[in-house]
């Protein structure tokens, strides 16, 4: 059967060049980079090379990169580490209602410890009001945390402008850039970011590795206590193969960023236009201007249909996508991002995300456009909410 993977915001396949780079580090160069002997020396250089590759992609110095195990760890570290380091300065965090759970759930855990959190609302397009953000800053504010790009809608947030506001008020600025890095240009200098988190498996590296950028001079209490790895900033034996792969993935992403974004944007736009033309009664979720979203992301609600049954039908045709329906997540609530955008709850259950990637072609898009309308029609005809 045809297999068309359009769920690259959930995870990506490891790129062949990345896997090739990783393989020597399992059985040949398997040492612990902290070791003095040949087995250690062989790998510590490789870890440092990867650090340079990651640093280069986001325009920082290698010493400002700390390797972690995933995006969630990076976000936990950024938030909890800031609260611990700056508690004497204040107890207030500003974030948004559309962050990934790695940020939101961490904020909730911090609230239990007495931290006050402002969750900025978004408008119907999922965008922030920067005046509101600025107004939320108090002299107790120790952190602003706003994602670079939203995983469900693909919305891009005005990170440079937020960085300028943070700088103006001398508030630390963290951005969860897990969905942005590798897809759009990310420059921590331009954006005045203090902490930035990325995750390998979203850009063609393996699952189980990520990185956090910590601007030089930023006091951050370690999240993982233990050994001296990462100059005391993150304990635990290095995931050497994963780190080496992340370096290569960053280098590849950087080398092809513009060309690949252009190519994927064209595919996404073709898919978006095609669906809007072929299927009635659908709602686009996120910013209506596709250029204000990640080039690879499209999120639409197919009215009257619950998302899981849509996904299962897609799946039977080999198409992998994802849904904001509660039924796919094991929780009872549909996507909090749809909720924050005031999407009607039934439409939230039918929200469907197509996130394109390196392997997608024009034929893939056309196949989806061919297969999708009859599936939607069939399910609508089963729906008690649908009146022909």
């Amino acid at each position: 059967m045809k297999r068309i993977y359009m769920d690259n915001n959930a995870t990506t396949a490891v790129r062949p060049e990345v896997l090739d780079a990783m393989l020597p580090f399992y059985r040949e160069q398997f040492g612990n980079p902290s070791s003095v002997h040949w087995a250690g020396r062989a790998v510590s250089g490789a870890v440092e090379k990867a650090r340079e590759q990651v640093a280069q992609l986001i325009n920082c110095s290698p010493a400002e990169i700390v390797f972690v195990s995933c995006g969630s760890e990076g976000d936990n570290m950024a938030l909890k580490g800031t609260v611990d380091a700056l508690r004497d300065k204040g107890d207030h965090i500003i974030t948004t209602t559309v962050e990934h759970p790695a940020v939101l759930e961490t904020c909730k855990a911090l609230e239990k410890q007495g931290v006050r959190v402002t969750y900025l609302p978004v408008d119907h397009n999922g965008m922030l009001n920067l005046a509101e953000l600025e107004a939320a800053i108090t002299d107790k504010t120790i952190l602003i945390s706003v994602m670079w790009a939203n995983n469900e809608t693909g919305n891009l947030y005005p990170i440079e402008e937020i960085g300028a506001i943070a700088r103006k008020y001398k508030v630390r600025f963290h951005t969860d850039a897990v969905q942005a890095v590798g897809k759009v240009p990310v420059d921590v200098q331009k954006a005045n970011v203090d902490l930035l988190v990325l995750s390998g498996h979203k850009l063609g590296a393996a699952k189980g590795v990520g990185a956090i950028y910590i601007r030089r001079g930023t006091r951050l209490t370690p999240f993982m206590h233990g050994g001296h790895q990462e100059r005391g900033r993150r304990a635990g034996t290095h995931n050497v193969a994963g780190i080496v792969g992340l370096g290569v993935a960053c280098e590849l992403a950087g080398a092809h960023l513009e060309a690949e974004a252009t190519r994927i944007r064209a595919l996404r736009d073709r898919l978006e236009q095609g669906i809007l033309e072929r299927v009635p009664e659908i709602k686009l979720n996120g910013h209506p201007d596709p250029n204000l979203r990640l080039p690879n992301t499209l999120n639409v609600s197919f009215a009257y249909i619950e998302g899981e049954s849509l996904l299962l039908n897609f799946d039977m045709k080999g198409i992998a996508a994802s849904s904001g329906s509660a039924c796919t997540s094991g929780s009872l609530e549909p996507s909090h991002v749809m909720g924050a955008m005031c999407v009607d709850v039934v439409l939230a259950h039918s929200s469907t995300r197509f996130s394109l990637g390196a392997d997608n072609t024009e034929e893939d898009v056309d196949y989806v456009l061919e297969v999708l309308p009859p599936i939607v029609q069939r399910l609508r005809e089963m729906s008690p909410l649908y009146n022909r």
């Binding site: 009257y304 249909i305 619950e306 899981e308 049954s309 299962l312 039977m316 329906s325 509660a326 039924c327 796919t328 094991g330 009872l332 549909p334 709850v345 039934v346 259950h349 005809e381 089963m382 729906s383 008690p384 909410l385």
Partner: protein
Amino acid sequence: MYSEKVMDHFTNPRNVGEIENADGVGEVGNASCGDIMKIFLKVEDNVIKDIKFKTFGCGAAIATSSMVTEMAIGKTLDEALELTNAAVAEALDGLPAQKMHCSNLAADALHEAIKNYKETHSA
């Protein structure tokens, strides 16, 4: 995740649709939880002669709806009232644990439809 039987009923659901001038109609669920089930009955001599459903929900919701209609058709109302959600799930070779909230709807919708029939056709 789903058993073959579930996938069969999900892919080829039996008795989808509405019955015009149905003798009984039952609706359960809640759009905000992502699942609504509607069951339509045609009753003759206390026997379910025809049954149709419409469902907004996940694979399990659709498969249980389909299965419950198959199990109910031809049964007397009293027999049908004895059909439980557990029996529906069992007939489908089981359902995933996290699907229990919606898979507990199918027999409920059937019972609602029978109740509605009884209310509208009493005496």
